[in-house]
């Protein structure tokens, strides 16, 4: 309890000195923040993992599995980050390779075949950049997920729990409902990456975070996500159980709404949402 209070004071002290967008970025990346699998374990029951992309390998940064959501059969997908140094390296700090995205798509296709809804959870800085990732078609893997998710014939709900890093996050977030946690961020590029390109100085990351409008609130007001999930006071890391409960409530509400729609209407709405998203132009 005292530790939590200490955390809160620290966070508040930092908050006063730094731009809000950077505070949120640090909260989204907090080392004690629950990761997708932590939320999955508290919200779902009977998780049975399925492995492999049937083409190259089994990505350690992506987990897919059959599970139950309040008794209902569902497919759950989330990226894996790891807590210890060893585990983080093994899981590439949560950044999936092409085979991770292909495994996720394979799981979604299984769900589609058996009429089971899909829930995804996202907390990653981006898709893994590397020689192997390029050789095995990182771009193609992401692109394939975007087109297939846009027309997958089962309900899809995506939740961004921490960092929603660019195309690597979007490749799990073309969904009927896209939720984002109160202190999570969603961005086309990391604040550091943007700072080093536009300011030619990575230390301008707080300014870049502000300019990019990465916070859940900004992203919501730009119409790029559907709903914000509240977090416990001080952030999800302050009370992971309560955080999971708050996500669960939102998931149930949105899931019930989507389930009530006839399939074709659900698909039409998903299509129209993305076809008409982010229209910022004059004619």
């Amino acid at each position: 309890m005292t530790e939590q209070a200490g955390n809160l004071e620290q966070v508040q002290a930092v908050a006063e000195a730094t731009p809000a967008a950077w505070v949120k970025t640090e909260l989204a990346r907090h080392s004690q923040r629950p990761y997708p699998m932590d939320f999955i374990e508290s919200i779902f029951t009977d998780f049975s993992e399925i492995h492999g992309d049937r083409a190259f390998g089994d990505d350690a940064a992506m987990a897919c599995g059959m599970a139950r959501f309040h008794g209902e059969e569902v497919m759950v997908i989330g990226n894996l980050k790891g807590r210890t140094v060893k585990e983080r390296i093994e899981r590439k700090f949560g950044s999936p390779d092409p085979e991770g995205y292909r495994k996720a798509l394979r799981a979604m296709k299984i769900a589609e075949k058996f009429g089971r809804p899909v829930f995804t959870f996202i907390d990653l800085a981006g898709a893994n950049p590397g020689i192997g990732a390029e050789e095995r078609g990182q771009a193609e893997a992401i692109a394939r997920n975007l087109i297939e998710m846009s027309r997958l014939r089962v309900p899809l709900i995506a939740t961004i729990t921490g960092e929603g890093g660019s195309g690597g996050a979007l490749a799990l977030a073309v969904a009927d409902r896209v939720l984002i946690l109160e202190n999570a961020i969603y961005s086309v590029i990391s604040p550091e990456g943007c700072a080093s390109i536009m300011w030619r100085d990575a230390s301008k990351r707080a300014q870049a975070a502000e300019a990019l409008k990465v916070t859940a609130q900004d992203v919501k007001s730009l119409g790029c996500v559907d709903d914000i999930v509240p977090e416990p006071v001080g952030g999800a890391q302050a009370n992971p159980e309560e955080a999971a409960q708050l996500i669960d409530e939102k998931l149930r509400w949105h899931f019930n709404e989507i389930k009530a729609l006839p399939l074709e209407e659900m698909l039409q709405r998903r299509y129209e949402k993305f076809r008409n998203i982010a229209q910022f132009y004059t004619t």
Binding site: G130, A139, G167, L170, A171, A211, Y271
Partner: protein, 287 residues
Amino acid sequence: MSWFKRQEYKIENEGEKTVRTEGLWIKCDSCDQVIFKADLEANLHVCPKCGHHFRISARTRIDLLLEPGYEIVDTELKSTDPLKFSDLKSYKSRLKKAQKDTGLNDAILNAVGKLGDHEIVLSVMEYAFIGGSMGAVVGETIARAVDRAYESRKPLIIVAASGGARMMEGIVSLMQLAKISAALGRLDDEKIPFISILTDPTTGGVTASFAMLGDLNIAEPNALIGFAGPRVIEQTIRQKLPEGFQRSEFLLEHGFLDAVVNRKEMKSYLSRALDFMKQPSQDKVAG
């Protein structure tokens, strides 16, 4: 008096006698050959010596692919700077400069016309406009090209030349990947052909969306094509990248391109592919 001393006549460099060669000659980026500009243009902007494919404007590309009499469409959209983004310069001023330099509203041109015998919808990116980056205007304009193909049932060709998503439009630019991919999903369901042409360079969010989703993905020789930029990868893995990494031939070898086609042969290749993709059932319905 010295034999060599010039007393009366000075050498004068009179303006009218000077032959200006500036702009008439171009040095090849690849082999350093000096090429007469008119020759380069006649050779479709391909170096006659080494075959290096120069980057060309969207307008030049359309002229190369479509028969005369095509129509440019969807030109009216302009960015509203949704983030009011500013780094060392404001995004607004960058947009203004790019608009002045290219004569375009944004990094994209849509056209409808004929490629050989085929009526097609063509969408071409303009690399000279903020690195061909994709924001809301580029995304919507490409999606409109997809809609045109969908409604008219004409084949769609998109020519990519882009550094990826437009950072200055933040999350708005990321959403364009989903927008175009969703539109392409609908096109695919209707079995309407889509050919993606990747030119130098095609990276980031453009590669990770429509550029990789063609029924055929075709590239020009030696084009840089990838997801992460070479510098990002070098910084991440802390080693130099091998020669030819992320070039067209590398992607072909790894199975992500259907063909690497020279600019000169591109039109006949596309025409042949469109013959194949023409649905026999359509002819029956029409007849």
